[in-house]
C-alpha cells in the first residue's frame, strides 16, 4: 500500500512539473502576443507553438506511461469547504482561486463533461449509429481517397521543389566572368566594335591622313627626344583601326 502511494506521489510530481512547464510556455506566448505584437514575426509564433505541442505530447506520454498508476482509479473528494479567504490557496494558484467555497468544487473537480456538452455528444453518437453501414463505409472510403490524393499532390510538389533547388545548386552558372569582361571592354574601349567596319565611314580619307601624321610625327621626334617616341607612336597606332590585329 505504502509503495503504491509513493509511486503515485512520484508520478504526480512528474505531472505537476510537466504542467507547470506547459503553463510557463503558454504564459510566454501570451506575453509575446501582448507586448511584442508590433515586431512579432510568424516564425517566432510558430516556434512557440512547436514548443507547446512538444510539451503537450510529452505530458500525454507521461500520462499513458507504465510508471503512472491509473489515475482513473483514484478518488478525489473535497474535505473542507469554506467561504473564508484561504491565503495559502491564493498563493498556490497565483491569486486565481482565493477561497474554496461551494461554487468551486463542481467546476474544478469535474470528471465528466458539462451536461449540455454531454447531451450534444450523445446526439452525435445516436446520429452516427443511425447511419447505414454501407453508407458509412462509402463515406469513409471517400475520405480516405481524398486524403491520399492530397498527400500525393503535396509529395509531388515537394519533390518538384527539391529537384528545383537541387537543379540550381548543380548549375550555379547564372553569370559569366568572361561576359562581364567582354561587356565592360565593349562599353569602355569599343572592343570588337571598331574592327567590324571602317572607323570613319563618313570621311574615309581621315584614316589615311592620320597614318601620314603618324609618319610625320615619327621622324622629327626620333632625333630629339627618344624617351617620348614610344608613347607617341603608340597613341598614333591606337587611333588607326587598320593596324590592329
Amino acid at each position: 500500500m505504502q509503495k503504491e502511494e509513493k509511486h503515485l506521489e512520484a508520478s504526480l510530481e512528474a505531472l505537476i512539473q510537466r504542467v507547470s512547464e506547459l503553463k510557463s510556455s503558454i504564459g510566454a506566448l501570451i506575453g509575446k502576443l501582448e507586448h511584442e505584437y508590433e515586431t512579432l514575426n510568424w516564425p517566432s509564433v510558430l516556434d512557440s507553438f512547436a514548443l507547446l505541442s512538444g510539451q503537450l505530447t510529452s505530458l500525454g506520454r507521461v500520462l499513458k506511461g507504465d510508471k503512472v498508476p491509473a489515475l482513473k482509479n483514484q478518488l478525489l473528494l473535497p474535505i473542507l469547504i469554506s467561504p473564508e479567504i484561504d491565503e495559502s490557496l491564493g498563493k498556490l494558484t497565483e491569486g486565481r482561486v482565493m477561497m474554496f467555497n461551494h461554487e468551486i468544487p463542481p467546476t474544478y473537480l469535474r470528471t465528466k463533461p458539462q451536461p449540455e456538452v454531454e447531451e450534444k455528444t450523445q446526439q452525435l453518437v445516436t446520429k452516427a449509429t443511425c447511419l447505414a453501414q454501407d453508407l458509412a463505409h462509402k463515406q469513409l472510403n471517400n475520405l480516405n481517397k481524398f486524403t491520399s490524393n492530397l498527400m500525393d499532390l503535396m509529395n509531388s510538389t515537394k519533390e518538384d521543389w527539391e529537384n528545383d533547388a537541387g537543379h540550381k545548386n548543380s548549375q550555379p552558372q547564372m553569370c559569366s566572368q568572361d561576359d562581364t569582361n567582354l561587356l565592360v571592354a565593349t562599353a569602355l574601349y569599343g572592343k570588337d566594335l571598331r574592327t567590324t567596319r571602317p572607323r570613319h565611314p563618313k570621311s574615309p580619307q581621315i584614316g589615311m591622313m592620320q597614318a601620314q601624321q603618324a609618319n610625320n610625327r615619327q621622324n622629327p621626334v626620333m632625333t630629339k627626344a627618344p624617351s617620348a617616341i614610344k608613347t607617341t607612336i603608340k597613341s598614333a597606332a591606337a587611333s588607326h583601326p587598320y593596324q590592329r590585329p
Binding site: 591622313m209 601620314q212 601624321q213 610625320n216
Partner: protein, 214 residues
C-alpha cells in the same frame, strides 16, 4: 522665353558710357519700367592646338545670367551647343596642360568680354542695358529687348519695333540679322547668345583695328 533683339547703342562724342546708360535708364523709368536686378553675359574664347593639317578652331564659351544653369559654346563654324554649365569643366580638362604638353585647347588670355548692367521689366517686355567691357576697358553699350509672350519673330516684330523706337530711336529700325533669318521659326536662347557673340566679335575687331595704327 520670348523673342530677343540686341542692338549696339552708339555713344555720342563727348559723353561717357555711364552718362548714356543713366539717361536711358531715366527714360525707361519714365515709361514705367521697373528695375529688377542686374544681368550679365560673358564670353571667353579658346583656340585649338590642333596638329598641322587641320584648321585651327576657335571656340567661344558664353554665359547668360538669364539661363544660369546653362553655358553656350559657339564654334567659328557657327555651330552652337547648349549644355549644362558643367561643360565648362570639360573645357577646362581640354585646356589643361599636362607634363609640359599643351592641352587640346588654350584660352585666349585677356580676351574675356562681357556685357553687364541693370535689367528692367515693363509689362511684357524685359529690357537690359549692358556696358560692354574687355579686360576692364569700356567698349560700348548693348541694349537687349525681349518680348516674352511670343516666340516667333514675325508675329511680334512690329510691336517690338514700336516699343524699342520709343527709347532708342532709329537704332531699332530693322531687326538684327539673326532675328530676320528666323522670322517664321521658333526663337531660342541660343539665338540671343549668337546676337551677343556677333556684337562681341565686332567690339574685339574694333579693338584690334584701333590698336594697329599705333
Amino acid at each position: 522665353m520670348g523673342v530677343v533683339c540686341v542692338y549696339m547703342y552708339p555713344v555720342p562724342e563727348g559723353k561717357s558710357g555711364q552718362q548714356v546708360v543713366d539717361s536711358m535708364q531715366r527714360q525707361l523709368e519714365l515709361l514705367g519700367a521697373v528695375k529688377t536686378g542686374n544681368f550679365n553675359v560673358d564670353c571667353e574664347t579658346y583656340l585649338s592646338n590642333n596638329p598641322q593639317g587641320t584648321p585651327q578652331r576657335s571656340l567661344h564659351l558664353l554665359h547668360n545670367s538669364e539661363q544660369p544653369a546653362s553655358c553656350f559654346s559657339v564654334l567659328d563654324t557657327g555651330t552652337t551647343l547648349v549644355a549644362d554649365v558643367l561643360f565648362e569643366v570639360l573645357m577646362a580638362k581640354l585646356t589643361q596642360s599636362k607634363s609640359g604638353k599643351d592641352g587640346f585647347y588654350q584660352q585666349r588670355k585677356g580676351f574675356k568680354i562681357e556685357s553687364k548692367g541693370p535689367r528692367f521689366e515693363i509689362s511684357d517686355f524685359v529690357i537690359k542695358i549692358g556696358s560692354v567691357s574687355m579686360a576692364s576697358n569700356f567698349k560700348g553699350i548693348l541694349v537687349e529687348v525681349e518680348y516674352c509672350p511670343c516666340a516667333i519673330p514675325a508675329e511680334c516684330w512690329d510691336l517690338m519695333r514700336e516699343m524699342m523706337q520709343s527709347f532708342m530711336g532709329t537704332v531699332a529700325d530693322t531687326p538684327p540679322a539673326i532675328v530676320k533669318s528666323k522670322k517664321d521659326q521658333f526663337y531660342t536662347p541660343a539665338d540671343t547668345i549668337n546676337q551677343y557673340l556677333e556684337h562681341f566679335t565686332n567690339f574685339r575687331k574694333a579693338t584690334v583695328a584701333s590698336q594697329q595704327p599705333r
